[in-house]
Amino acid sequence: MSDEYLWDIYPDIVNGREPPFVLLIPTPEDEDHVHFAFVEDVEEVEEPAALEAPDASTMVGKHPVFRNQAVRFRTSGPDARMFLDAVAGFDQLDADNITDAQRQKRRAQLREFFKKVPLPIIDIYVSKFDADYKAIKQTLLPGSWTLVVFRDGALEAGLRPVIYGAPEFQPAERIRYARLRSLAAVTPPVELRLRDIFSFNHIRDADISTEDDGSATPQPKPQPMPGLDAANPWKQTHRQEDYAQKAVQYQKLTQG
């Protein structure tokens, strides 16, 4: 694994600092899978005899974790190296000010990217009795991005099982077994790009016009959430700036 690659995803390692791992491991090795993973859903498994496999088939969970209140963290996302290789090709968009031409370009870029880069579903199973369960749960929050490192192999006792694949893959690739090696926070510059690229920025807002037929009184408008622009709650300007600032600060810190 080259230093250049590590610099992109683990600059702290390169600088001799302790990386922001949730589960500490040695440096990822060549046989490890390293993915940026988006957490779609977190739910306790109540019926291990009817697990939903990544290819949407039903399978029986035989690993000991399923006898110990297993929680399924359903994630999906691209191989980290493939994403980092492609990221420079995407223009960064300002979510509040996107032209039709930019949307069309982004959509075309995404379609090209998705032709080349597979997106496996990566199900991570962790027992509620696992010593690291709380830390893992705090890391794998629904709607968040995390760096997930896992390695192929049979589902052995004592290891946290990962089942990955997707229905659209070749038959032999639709369900594969692995063990979780580590979870790490995504660095702010990378997170900024993940959240921009894997968004609906390529889709315009609908023009929703209304007419009052006289029978209705207006509903109270919702109060904007703290930090949101009342006129355009999606804007969230300061948060975008926060991300950008964090990214710059992070670069300075890691380069210093």
Partner: protein, 297 residues
Amino acid sequence: MSSERARELIVGGDLAQIDGFNPLAEVESLNGVRVYDVGQGDSIAILDNRDRPVLQIDYGGRQDSPFRDQSSEYIDKCMPAGDCRLVMVTHWDEDHWCSAARAAAVRGATWLVPRQVTSPRAVRFSTELTDVSCIPESRVGQAFCFKAMNGDEVWWEKIAASEPDASKHEDCNRTGVALAVVKRTPSGEGTVILVPGDAPFGRVRYYEHLRAQKLTLRGLVAFHHGSRSHWTEATRRLLRTWPVNRWDVRTVFSCSRDNPFRHPHVENYEEEMGETIEIVRTPSCRVGNDRYIDIAF
């Protein structure tokens, strides 16, 4: 004073047009709702007076999907959404859209979707749609209404703002779109069918307004496939106090026969609504040619 109080209760949704059209503008009237058997997930059509789908809500189904090894033509035939004027997605969990990734006709329709923080797989699917737009976040919390020619209504609302901040927990079930179908009589009475997606009933503000209008609850699609998560007092109270006719509330659970979460938890509904409900599970209709359950007015 009293008239002002009365007016406060009569709160209605804004009559809406999407990009200049009302998807029900040429629909004579509405017959009800059709819940397709898709395994674990949702795919629901709103039917016109000739039982034709005119508005499609979600197009999903993952575990135990009957379409697992079927062609796109077969999916199109079983869930004919190609002629719908509009397809709406309640939220972006994969079991609410994934059959559309393998079908053909539905992807050519006009789609109206919530802008949410979502998976790259959902983003990939969205790039395959040719005519798609997002509900503006500035419209969050506002109830809208499409009206058929006879006055039948489809209500919808994006119920909460999406949360793009990584430090905040976003459960997209609770920032999605919830719908209701209403048929009113000339005397002002009426009946309603609730289609909340994965959002708990208590999260949908305009449901309370519909209940307060004394519309009789004709049926509902259980939220989140009959999950017991987010089963709050607000949801309990809403179901407990909604006017009903005995034995007449058709309650549909759209889920797979086997699933890791032991959906559906029908006991929650039985506890709140007692003998008023007729419970129907989508796996029960996986025989014969009609693999769906209708809730008719």
